[in-house]
């Protein structure tokens, strides 16, 4: 079931997080990624965040099946730090990406959290080749100090189980 509005409670104040607010947040996130502002992107995540790109459709767990990417907060920090390295050869030349985020719905909400579902398409161009990725994103967003933060981001790629060349830029 989806809802148009989620209500969060911070302290004694009820806070209204509507679909538009979630969509604005997801568009902001996509923009940071397209502009390669990865440190700013990392700052959107909570300190106990998980970032997950399963390798199988309907994958239940990141612990009993391999994942294209599965980062706890510690590995996510390392992934982002590596992206800034002048010696990340798989990003020499750098990828350019262009993302569209759409069909945003609120799937679930509760005190201080919202679970959203959205569709995305991403074009990646690098060294003369253009790749197209698409799929469904699930964000578990939480309110921290009055700001939305990502507790969990799961990206279900349409072609998650296809043979793929290396994936370096986060989705």
């Amino acid at each position: 079931m989806s809802a148009d509005v989620a209500h969060a409670v911070i302290g004694n104040d009820a806070v209204r997080i509507d679909r538009e607010a979630c969509e604005a947040f997801l568009l902001h996130e996509a923009r940071l990624l397209d502009e390669a502002k990865f440190d700013d992107w990392l700052a959107l995540f909570t300190l106990d965040a998980q970032y997950w790109v399963p390798s199988q459709p309907d994958q239940q767990s990141p612990h009993d099946t391999v994942s294209l990417m599965y980062d706890d907060r510690r590995l996510l920090e390392t992934r982002v730090r590596r992206l800034a390295s002048p010696r990340i050869y798989s990003q020499e030349p750098r990828s350019r990406t262009s993302r569209i985020v759409a069909n945003v719905t609120i799937e679930e909400s509760g005190p201080a959290f919202v679970a959203t579902r959205s569709k995305f398409m991403m074009i990646e161009f690098r060294r003369g080749e253009q790749r197209l990725f698409g799929g469904t994103c699930f964000h578990r967003l939480v309110l921290q100090d009055g700001t939305l933060r990502i507790r969990l981001k799961r990206i279900n790629l349409v072609n998650c189980d296809a043979p793929l060349d290396g994936l370096v830029v986060p989705f």
């Binding site: 599965y70 730090r81 010696r87």
Partner: protein, 452 residues
């Protein structure tokens, strides 16, 4: 174009300590490799745990040829060409599954699990000599199929050395995989990575025992991991990844003093273990590993457990298409697609009777070492791509594989040994096998050194 007449030319392309660039770049040589190496050698196709029960099957390829591996009605393992005898269509279209029979979707020709024709519609009207019991109306069986402790190999050559003769001492690496399971059995589990690159298939095995590349190729992930604060939240998976990346930063002095490399006939080799992080691999102080040792001792006894855990190998490469590693239950299968296009499938193994956390650790390890989105593997794939781009130029005609050449020496069990792990002895060894398959010459390093 290369053909039968140019065997002498092929022989010239592999010289002591160097090989010709065309071995990685010439489409005609690639086609010959499919025929003479992948069409003759014992090629790994899968594991028996993928076809446990009668009717279980999975599909794969040998080079570009589709095959189906199936447990037939009598419980026997069959490896069939995935091709209808009628009009040649691929019969089985699912990656894996369970069935009583195989049926072609074009005209309904139906086959037993051992490939024999079971039924056809419209039985009238065929020529007089039409025989539904002959090979001509069957899904053809591959000529030779042999399984060693659950590892299924196929040779498309009707005769030649047996699997045991071909593997020789490398069976001990497979033993090392299986013996580590407290219940004496391992199974493929945890899904598969399928990663691809625009480069030659040989580059992959050449990189897996290359102890001289991590310091350079993996610099970005080594630096990022070394700078990572350890008090940041991890559920254990990131910790394993970061420890592994840091291990890749071991200095050359470490690789040259602490790690060995061994090679065996027919192109096989293994690299010694290189981990000194007591929390990362088989380490007595790791609580999960202590539980595991207890489980192994309970089933196998203390003496045997000690012997099992004394084997410390990193990647074992079985030429031409398999690499595996016992300590984290990893296995890679190389599929050549075109001269500059390769697909690699990687799997995890679960040790029966071991603590569940061991397998979770294997999954975390797979993500960082074999993952399509790994912080490590992606730089390896970039190197393979760049080698192919570089070799499209005729500039560097001969490629150096000579590091350690003067110091290769004999090892036990008919093997040879590099002075240390930065020796390229295992690449020279693979090209010895390459020459043998491609020209029938069966040259050996020792013989060529004697000439040189």
């Amino acid at each position: 174009m290369m053909d039968q007449r140019s065997i002498a030319t092929l022989g010239h392309l592999v010289q002591p300590a160097r090989v010709h660039r065309s071995l990685y770049a010439d489409p005609a040589i690639f086609e010959l490799e499919l025929e003479r190496i992948f069409g003759a050698a014992w090629v790994y196709v899968g594991h028996e745990s993928q076809v446990k029960n009668i009717g279980d099957f999975f599909c794969t390829q040998i080079a570009r040829k589709p095959i189906v591996v199936v447990r037939d009605a009598t419980g026997e393992l069959q490896v069939l060409r995935n091709q209808c005898a009628h009009r040649g269509s691929m019969v089985v279209a699912s990656d894996q599954g369970h069935t009583d029979e195989f049926q072609c979707c074009y005209h309904g020709w139906t086959y037993h699990l051992d490939g024999r024709l079971k039924a056809i519609p419209l039985q009238n009207g065929y020529p007089q000599d039409f025989n539904p019991k002959s090979d001509k109306t069957a899904m053809l069986r591959l000529p030779r199929v042999t399984s060693y402790r659950g590892f299924i190999f196929v040779s498309q050559a009707a005769d030649g050395p047996s699997l045991a003769e071909s593997l020789n001492h490398m069976t001990t690496s497979i033993d090392d995989m299986v013996d580590r399971a407290p219940d004496g059995e391992i199974e493929i589990a945890g899904g598969v990575f399928k990663h691809t690159y625009n480069g030659n298939w040989k580059l992959y095995l050449e990189n897996l025992c290359d102890a001289a590349h991590p310091w350079f190729t993996h610099r970005s992930s080594i630096d990022a991991a070394q700078q990572q604060k350890d008090d940041v939240m991890s559920d254990g998976s990131g910790e394993i990844a970061i420890r592994q990346m840091r291990q890749n930063g071991a200095p050359y002095s470490f690789w040259e003093s602490q790690v060995g490399i061994w090679t065996y006939p027919n192109g096989h080799s293994y690299l010694g273990d290189y981990h000194d992080d007591a929390n990362l691999v088989a380490a007595m102080n790791d609580p999960v590993f202590r539980d595991y040792i207890a489980a192994l001792e309970a089933k196998q006894g203390k003496e045997k457990t000690k012997k099992i855990l004394e084997v410390r190998r990193w990647n074992s490469n079985v030429y031409p298409n398999l690499s595996f590693m016992s300590q984290f239950g990893q296995l890679r299968v190389i599929h050549p697609v075109a001269v500059s296009r390769t697909e690699v499938h990687t799997y995890c193994f679960k040790l029966r009777g071991a603590p569940e956390q061991m397998f979770r650790n294997a999954i975390s390890f797979a993500n960082i070492v074999n993952g399509t989105g790994s912080l490590v593997l992606t730089d390896d794939l970039e190197i393979y791509n760049r080698i192919a781009l570089g070799l499209s130029s005729e500039g560097a005609e001969w490629l150096e594989i000579g590091r350690g050449y003067q110091s290769d020496g004999p090892a036990e069990h008919g093997g040879r040994k590099g002075k240390n792990s930065t020796s390229e002895i295992y690449i020279r060894n693979m090209f010895d096998a390459w020459l043998g398959y491609m020209t029938g010459a069966h040259a050996t390093s020792a013989a060529r050194e004697a000439v040189a």
